[in-house]
Symmetry: C2
Subunit: 210 residues, 2 copies
């Protein structure tokens, strides 16, 4: 059965370039206020030239979203899943996600709010994939809690606190600024771990508890 996903053509450097440029314009002007002509102009191609790649503005938004979610899957979720210790895994998730959130001026990461502009089936598909990431974070926090290593904090507040810190990055991080993307990513992970994980020596031992 052909799914909507199957209709998205493989990412080529040219398609990725179009996605990044379009994402930056959608972010700066708003998705609704941006026309296909605006995107074509920014790319230095004709509207017809752009339609060669994407059948509609909506298809372009969907591909940008899926491209961003592919990066989260390949560069965050899959590598992190291989880490057994939940604290080390949480650190890896935050460091990797914070690092990709600033890539290419973070235009794609900042489009997360525009998912609402997608038609229901595509929106659901995007949200299901976002859910997979949120589940990984929640499961990791759950493991820390089960091991008595999570501070006394609600897992939902913890998960969305982390996600908020990361997805706010593109709003203030400046490429070629005082701090590198890697430095910022490591620091965000450090704040998250210190904020959520009990320091060693103060952990609740499961054996002691009834």
């Amino acid at each position: 059965m052909a799914t909507v996903r199957a209709l998205v053509r493989p990412a080529t450097p040219r398609r990725i370039e179009i996605c990044r440029t379009a994402a930056a314009i959608f972010r700066d002007r708003g998705y609704d206020a941006t026309s296909v002509s605006d995107v074509a102009r920014a790319l230095g191609i004709t509207k017809a030239g752009l339609y060669h790649y994407f059948e509609s503005k909506e298809a372009l938004l969907f591909e940008i979203t899926m491209y961003g979610l592919d990066r989260v899957r390949d560069d965050v979720v899959i590598p992190a899943r291989g880490i057994k210790d939940p604290e080390a895994r949480l650190r890896e998730i935050v460091t990797r996600h914070a690092s990709i959130a600033t890539r290419g001026h973070g235009a794609i990461a900042q489009l997360v709010d525009e998912v609402a502009a997608l038609p229901p089936a595509r929106r659901k598909q995007a949200e299901d994939r976002m859910r997979a990431y949120i589940d990984l974070v929640s499961d990791t926090l759950g493991e820390l809690r089960a091991a008595g290593r999570l501070r006394d904090v609600d897992p939902a507040v913890a998960a969305f606190g982390i996600i908020g810190m990361i997805l706010w990055l593109p709003r203030w991080f400046r490429q070629n600024g005082r701090l590198s993307s890697e430095q910022v990513a490591k620091q965000v992970a450090e704040i998250a771990i210190n904020g959520l994980v009990r320091p060693r020596g103060r952990r609740r031992s499961k054996k002691v508890r009834r």
Copy 2:
């Protein structure tokens, strides 16, 4: 000299209601994509009726922004400034700001990105006032650092990490959900303090350092 600010009329319950309703529509549909007619329709009044209160869509956005910044000044900045201890002050800033960020479904807090749609003079005015808040957070972190109480974290990453956690709240917090606004605000403050402030006993004594 009449400033732009002086032209904004005092907030009455009706003007505040219009601001909240308009903020919710701007957030849901995007500022650019929303017309004055859309806002009037949502309020159940005519376009002419809305123009009685606001001369333009831009004036409406400006008043919403200033209303939100008034809340931050009156309910966060002024009460927090009176607290001498920087850790207690930081906790108060985060708790109070997180608490107002979820008010009225957080529509006003979420409009922060639309400041870019204001004309330059009004935009500068809004950004100057945002800066006053950011300076309060930065100064508080600076005091903690000077006292050897800040963890080994860059103050900019720390400040924007806090702001990201808070301004992400309206995206996921549900009124009448499992957690109250106050509970969530306290937890966000707890995560921020644990993430940024050295635990007692592990603080660097200034006397010991050269």
